[in-house]
Assembly symmetry: C2
């Protein structure tokens, strides 16, 4: 796997086995949800669309990009193999896809029959290359999981076809929705064929890089584009690409991301919006954008070896991403607001917009997010570790086992912890022989204090770009890292209008929220947090086992009246209340009640 400009090379998910920890449990439930989503895709005609290519009597169903939903599902299923329930489904889908491919290599179930002439006629909107990118990613996962080359060959035929159609002097355009770029780089790495890398670079030039000053526009597209840009940078080292990535990342973290790591504040075009355009109840923060942002940051981490990218991956994973899926792992949000008033919203003029409650569901008519969640959870092990010439890097913490090799020496690493509820982490290292390398443990930005022990003896370590570097001859050793997990009230840049003079609680990587179910008979959107009194933790068996937070606060003792009034014309009377917080990701699992991440201070 080529990555000449990588400082760190990710260790693939196959090398990582989760235990019964936080993510292990989620991956197990995710695996059980994969057949459910398959049944829903079948029920909604997504499989029939493929059959229709050879049987025009079948009606096409779903949006024009829905082929990609099946490809993403297939990728998730392949990443979860071996699994006796999934294997026949994978085989069925793989055959279905191959049977639908044209002689020339083209494959899209929308642009066939009477629409065949419209092939590549509206690249801005038609998502044909976007779908093709997901075909390629699924085919690579299929090949890696099963060893079978047939689907990979289909993807290669598709890729060869677009190589023949696109480029200077051919079709000189790119797909409106980036995705093909990162898929082509993956295919280049799988096959070594440089034409795929070249075409990816060509497609990236659709946008003049120097115009990309801030991160803007459709959030998912922006994140996928940046991921493709980073992938090509990792192969070519073009400085322009890296400059652009760093500019856009800075714009994101200084002006355009939610505390939860959610991306895309604007409903209009599902986009990132203007600087500080971060509405809370109105947040879009599409689940797919959180996923795309994990993709992007994992590439930035590979390029730089800097912990701030892994910090952000962790922030997104535990919050903006994880809120997109129910605790049961089979219901999904498309949008992830940071506050909700718990009341139905009824638009008398668009009766189909009636929303009696806001709840996760298995099926969305635009079902891009559910299979994206499934493939991310199935591939999660791949985000935990990297290797470099210097040694082994641990980015994320959960009960897990890693089996890998460094310089030809097998390395077995066992993580034991109750993270993120507890900051005590242990790493058992076993090697067949003594071997010198550095073990890099990410020191999260929120960990104000920590203790480090090797084989029970306290020690110090160099802090390097957000990592603790332990260099020594390793054989059978135990490293312990005890991170402090204080409850930290966070504030935001006052230019972000909705969070102005407000505060949100974090503990470790978790952003907390108030939900109605824990705070009955309280107008939680009116609640203020009392910063003068101490916060407390309260372990709870609820919601799959969480640590709740307790705090004191106040709520208005009477209605405010009209929206606006002369300043100071009335003193607001407040009454004291007790507040109970749960992790943001866990909201909306006990019915659809009010919720808020940010509270006014008192």
């Amino acid at each position: 796997m080529s990555r000449p400009y990588a400082r760190l090379t990710p260790i693939p998910q196959e090398a990582v086995q989760f235990g019964s920890g936080f993510w292990g449990e989620r991956q197990k439930r995710n695996r059980a949800a994969i057949p459910k989503l398959f049944a829903a895709l079948r029920e909604h005609g997504v499989l029939d669309n493929f059959k229709r290519v050879n049987d025009p009597s079948i009606e096409r169903q779903g949006p024009r990009f829905t082929d990609s939903d099946l490809y993403k599902w297939l990728e998730a299923a392949c990443l979860s193999l071996p699994d006796p329930q999934l294997e026949p489904l994978v085989a069925e889908v793989s055959s279905l896809i191959q049977a639908a491919q044209g002689q020339d290599g083209y494959l899209n179930t929308y642009f066939v029959h009477q629409k065949a002439a419209q092939r590549f006629s509206n690249l801005q909107s038609d998502h044909e290359l976007y779908c093709g990118g997901h075909l390629i990613e699924a085919a690579i996962a299929h090949w890696q999981a099963t060893g079978k080359e047939d689907l990979l060959q289909a993807a290669v035929r598709f890729a060869d076809y677009i190589v023949s159609q696109f480029g200077p002097g051919k079709i000189e355009q790119a797909c409106g929705h980036p995705e093909i770029e990162l898929a082509l780089v993956k295919l280049y790495r799988a096959t070594g064929r440089e034409q795929y890398l070249e075409l990816a670079g060509y497609f990236l030039k659709r946008v003049p890089l120097r115009k990309l000053q801030e991160l803007s526009g459709h959030a998912v597209r922006a994140a996928y584009y940046a991921s493709g840009l980073a992938d090509v940078y990792l192969e070519t080292g073009e400085q322009d690409y890296l400059d652009c990535l760093q500019r856009q990342w800075k714009s994101m973290v200084e002006e355009k991301i939610y505390l939860t790591g959610g991306l895309g504040g604007r409903v209009r075009d599902e986009s990132v919006g203007r600087p500080f355009e971060l509405p809370l109840e109105g947040a879009y923060a599409e689940t797919c954008a959180a996923i795309g942002n994990i993709f992007w940051n994992s590439r930035m981490l590979s390029i730089s070896g800097e912990g701030r990218f892994a910090d952000l991956i962790e922030r997104i994973l535990y919050n903006g991403f994880l809120a997109g899926v129910s605790l049961s792992a089979d219901k999904y949000f498309y949008e992830n607001p940071l506050a909700y008033n718990g009341k139905p919203y009824w638009d008398p003029w668009y009766p189909w917009m009636r929303r009696d409650s806001y709840e996760r569901k298995l099926w969305h008519d635009c079902t891009c997010c559910p299979p994206n969640v499934q493939r991310l959870l199935a591939s999660l092990g791949g985000y935990f570790y990297s290797a470099s010439q210097e040694g082994l890097w641990v980015h994320l913490y959960d009960r897990s086992e890693l089996k890998w090799q460094l310089d030809g020496v097998p390395v077995h690493l066992v993580q034991k912890c109750d993270y993120p509820w507890d900051g005590k982490l242990s790493f058992e290292i076993r090697l067949p022989e003594r071997h010198e390398f550095s073990l890099f443990l990410r020191l999260p930005f929120w960990a104000e204090e920590y203790k480090l022990l090797v084989d029970g003896i306290a020690c110090t370590a160099k802090e390097r770009n957000g990592y603790l570097e332990l260099r020594r001859q390793w054989r059978d050793n135990k490293v312990e890292l005890n991170l402090s997990l204080p409850i930290v009230p966070m504030e935001a840049n006052p230019r972000a209008a909705e969070t102005r003079d407000s505060v949100a609680l974090m503990r470790g990587p978790l952003v907390y929220c108030l939900e109605q179910a824990d705070n009955l008979n309280l107008e939680i959107l009116e609640a203020r947090l009392n910063l003068a009194e101490k916060f407390a933790t309260e372990p709870s068996g609820e919601l799959g086992g969480i640590v709740k937070l307790k705090a004191s606060g106040k709520v208005p003792a009477e209605p405010y009246g009209p929206l606006y009034r002369p300043l100071g014309s009335k003193v607001e009377r407040l009454k004291p209340v007790q507040l109970t917080f749960i992790p943001y990701y866990a909201w909306n699992n006990r019915g659809s009640g009010a919720m808020t991440v940010w509270l006014k201070r008192t």
Copy 2:
């Protein structure tokens, strides 16, 4: 003109002549803009659409509801007659419309030829009755202005046709966009034919009134619906209707309106949104929604005689409505944000969304707002006065002359003032004989102090529902009302997240804003207002003659850094600055710079 359940009967605009005051100048410029909009409508094929009904070779242009844009333009032109430049245009359009009407009375330029069979097939989206409503309103204005009955008869034929098609046992649906209801009531008042009132009542039943607890959904539709509901109430006195109107009005003023009187915070479906969903930079606040809200409040005022409705009309007029049109009166905003960062926004994934700057323009592809602005400004005199059994009501203030009759006695009222810049108002009353009645002068809610003189002698008056009542035998008298015009910092209910802990300056009816042009080299969206120091007024000849406000404030001395940080981890350094405010309506007339209505306090 029937209105049995009216406390106040509006005095029509024909009886009011503006002088060279605030609104008189605007009405004059508006009249000059009417031929410009006509030329643009012609250029964009809106007139050709009507010719196309008899000539299928002509291509249809614009959205399916664009017939209504010509009707609204015609209404504005008729309200501005006599005018030698407008008369031939009015005659041309009137003939064009009549020639396009079907034998059966149906009239819509979209559902003809190959689309004729789709007539009334998708009432939710097709706007046929919405267009028909504007045909009726234009026809009544044409008849009133010219005395010619031909276009009115065409409208009657249309109305008779829909009476024959809609109702129990016929088509049992209503148009998705309310408008036909208030038009049918107007036609009922013009013709006395009860079937129009009945059909209006039937259409209103599309929505179960008891479900309308809060004001919600598409802002323009909600306001037009409420206006129709109020119109039918004024004729029938159904208590359910009034209860619903009051509930929705309370929901609006307590939870859902901008300080500027703008309505509709949500881009999604151009809708009012959830309670307190009032983004500032992201405000939708469509100009048409401000206009619809003026319609609604003028009917509430007629029903109740309560000054709070006239207060709101004034608030909307001077702010949320007036910001929708340039000082030159020939360029228009569709959306009216309450803050703007002055920077182009570029969406690389939707290149057509590129917006190099945000500026008013004459032509919008969806051109509902411009002719709506024109007809509102042309009809503005009709919002100034009402009559009741008790006497004469003055709701709005501007240099103007009223000629009307009370109990058969001619009343001549001359308003002299420099409002809204100065609070000194004078009213010269001339009658041919002594006559007893009450003169009601609205006492705006923001006028903390006032002085009242009759013929130079200080006097007191009863305050009744927001009006000062002066009852006496009038002949030739002069009433003077001197309103205090303090600069008032306003605050908002903290549930409105974006205005939390912020302040906006008002003076009289005017909401003020900071604009870049007056505050060069200042990050105005970062500015805080210093409430400890005095504000000052500064009359200026700029921007058509305004009073600017001066205040002291602070801005951050250094960049904030990342969006989020632990509370109190860094003390923000601020530096003092001078701030200059202009009325919100006047922004964006000196290029497209940053602007904000709300400022954080310091």
